[in-house]
Amino acid sequence: MRMTADAATGSAAGVGIDDPAALKQRLRRAELRQRLRAYALVLPLCLFTLLTFLVPIGLMLVNSVHDPLVAEELPRSGPLLRALPAGTISPDEAVFAALAADMKDAAGNQTASRIATRLNFEYGGLRSVFMKTTRVVNRTDAGPWKPLFLEADTAWGEPRIWTVLAQTSERYTPNHLLRAVDLTHDERGAVIREPADTRIHLMVFGRTLWVSLLVTLLCLAIGYPLAYWISHLPPRTGNLVMVLVLLPFWTSLLVRTTAWVVLLQKEGVVNSLLMATGLVSEPLQMTFNRFGVVIAMTHILLPFMILPLVSVMRGIPPAYVRAARSLGASPATAFRRVYLPQSLPGISAGVLLVFILALGYYITPALLGGAGDQMMSFFIADNLSRSLNWGLASALGALLLAGVLLLYAVYERTVGITNVRLG
């Protein structure tokens, strides 16, 4: 209303036409107003995304390096422990006395167990050492503390325990991130690879990449011919077939995973079919292994490959392939040199989308895979809810997030995120 009123008075006074500078200024002002209005419309969602998405994820990133529990619960001994030279075997009585005082407090506010758990994440076995010693210390009124500790557990005479205590009493620690890539510290605090039997995370990252890649390639291998066929059907039939592609797309992930459990399990539909036809004599093991995970994930992610492919292929004019053929190209050459390059945007969109989505899969591998088929997400969830190792869960999450964001940036550059087709 106000803008139109302005315009009316403006032209009445003749300013708009006679004075180009004033007109320009008013145009700029109007554009600024429009821009501000646009920002005002976007602002609520930005704030909402900030609060419910960016801040929580930021908190996870902070938690991957910030672990103040030990620093807070060992206020007296923390500074002394950090001041110990690397490789200390036997600190002096003052350190033991400070530690004993902190332990008494910790036993009093029931936090001893949490400290012990945290120490145990860094060095297996420290939990029982710390709990046992805390009980002994709590029973004793006065020192000397050093012999008491050493008597409670001989671990107090080893350099490793002092390194771990010094490291964990820092508020900020690189340990969770190091652990997430299978690195740890030796007894003198130098960074080394984890012992072979606890080295799992890099393998899980590799497995996650490998399964995602396999699923993406299968989706492309199945999706490309299907999308080609659909895009060359008469529009009416093509749309009808697209509904068939979209039906599984709209069906709940959990329903589709349930379907695959029912199909593939030992007493399942596929096995009874195979047995009835005499193809196999005993049921095949198809769940709780890689086969089940890959086939179900391919099924679930296939529509994400088909949708961008069909939308790109429908826009490819048939004249080019015809021209190539009439100029003497064989069908294979015409496809390879003319059609395939034109369908590349669809391929890159589908491949990136499927791969990114596959990287984060949790539910399907958890229900259809065995212990050796779990992907990164499973270990994040497991560390959070079962081991209660929040720091490690956050660190693994941070690495997974970094990988996904990298691919997302590539996707943004090559495809453009708002060009995602949703049916």
Binding site: C46, T251, V404
Partner: protein, 282 residues
């Protein structure tokens, strides 16, 4: 599009090799479609199997698993929670997403690409990461074990879909219609309500459907943020699949499939209406 020749009608001069390739492609495509559809359809009859087995042949049909699904207290709570969460999340996502899409319509907005990339990222970031972050954050806020926390997390998961579908509708939107309304004296709000909204509502509605489906299907956030009181249908199915597969889960799956089909058909009808209005072939 209508000018595109159909691959099905082979020209009379097609060589034997052309024909072979053509038939092989069709056979492969039909097989791929069967692979897509069959797993979903196969479990439907099994939900009516009177015996608690999960394979064919079915000797006797029954509705008892559906009766169980609709009367059992645990399942009823899950159904109610699922709808409450999904409807609330959809409302938030649709309102905020539509407003933002209208704002982002202005092409020469500084920072537009970055804002869009950030607003769409909940669709791309692995759900476990969102759930872990939400768990940390909502625990400190004290809404970890509540419907509120789940609703907020689900709403942000749904906003990218609303943003994308509404933006797609707005891409073909003629801004001069709004200018005409404004010149004729409409306030910005009236112009939005009377001109913009009626034109973009199919996009808004399909975005809302996507947001609803996302929330209705989501289980990881519910696992992290919800206690037993906040269980939803997918969470009940998850628990059942991990412990003991029961026929009631199949009944629940069939109900979920029906809801999906209803949403898909609504969306398809919308798409056709939209195509018709724009003068394209439906």
């Amino acid at each position: 599009m209508s000018a595109a020749p159909s691959a099905n009608a082979l020209p009379p001069y097609a060589s034997l090799r052309d024909k072979l390739v053509h038939h092989a492609l069709r056979a492969f495509s039909v097989a791929a479609l069967v692979f897509l559809i069959a797993p979903v359809l196969v479990i439907v009859p099994l939900a009516f199997n009177a015996d608690p087995y999960f394979t064919y042949p079915i000797h006797e049909y029954t509705l008892k698993w559906f009766v169980e699904f609709f009367t059992n207290e645990t399942w009823r709570v899950s159904v109610r929670n699922s709808f409450v969460i999904a409807l609330a999340a959809t409302f938030i996502a649709t309102t905020l997403g539509t407003l933002a899409a209208v704002g982002l319509m202005h092409r020469n907005l500084p920072g537009r690409a970055l804002i869009t990339a950030i607003l769409v990222s909940p669709m791309i970031v692995p759900i476990v990461i969102i759930a872990v972050g939400a768990y940390f954050f909502y625990s400190t806020l004290g809404i970890a074990n509540s419907l509120t926390g789940i609703i907020l997390a689900h709403a942000v998961l749904g906003t990218p879909f609303v943003l994308i579908t509404v933006s797609a509708t707005l891409a073909g939107f003629d801004l001069s219609l709004v200018r005409a309304a404004r010149v004729l004296g409409a306030s910005p709000w009236t112009a939005f309500r009377r001109i913009t909204l009626p034109i973009i509502w199919p996009g808004v509605f399909s975005g809302a459907l996507f947001a609803f489906a996302t929330s209705f299907d989501e289980v990881v956030v519910v696992l992290f943020l919800g206690s037993v009181e906040q269980r939803t249908i997918p969470r009940q199915m998850w628990t059942g699949l991990r412990e003991q597969l029961s026929p009631t889960i199949l009944a629940a799956a069939v109900v979920m499939i029906l809801i999906s089909v209803a949403m898909l058909l609504t969306l398809e009808a919308l798409r056709r209406r939209n195509a018709r209005l724009r003068g394209l072939q439906a």
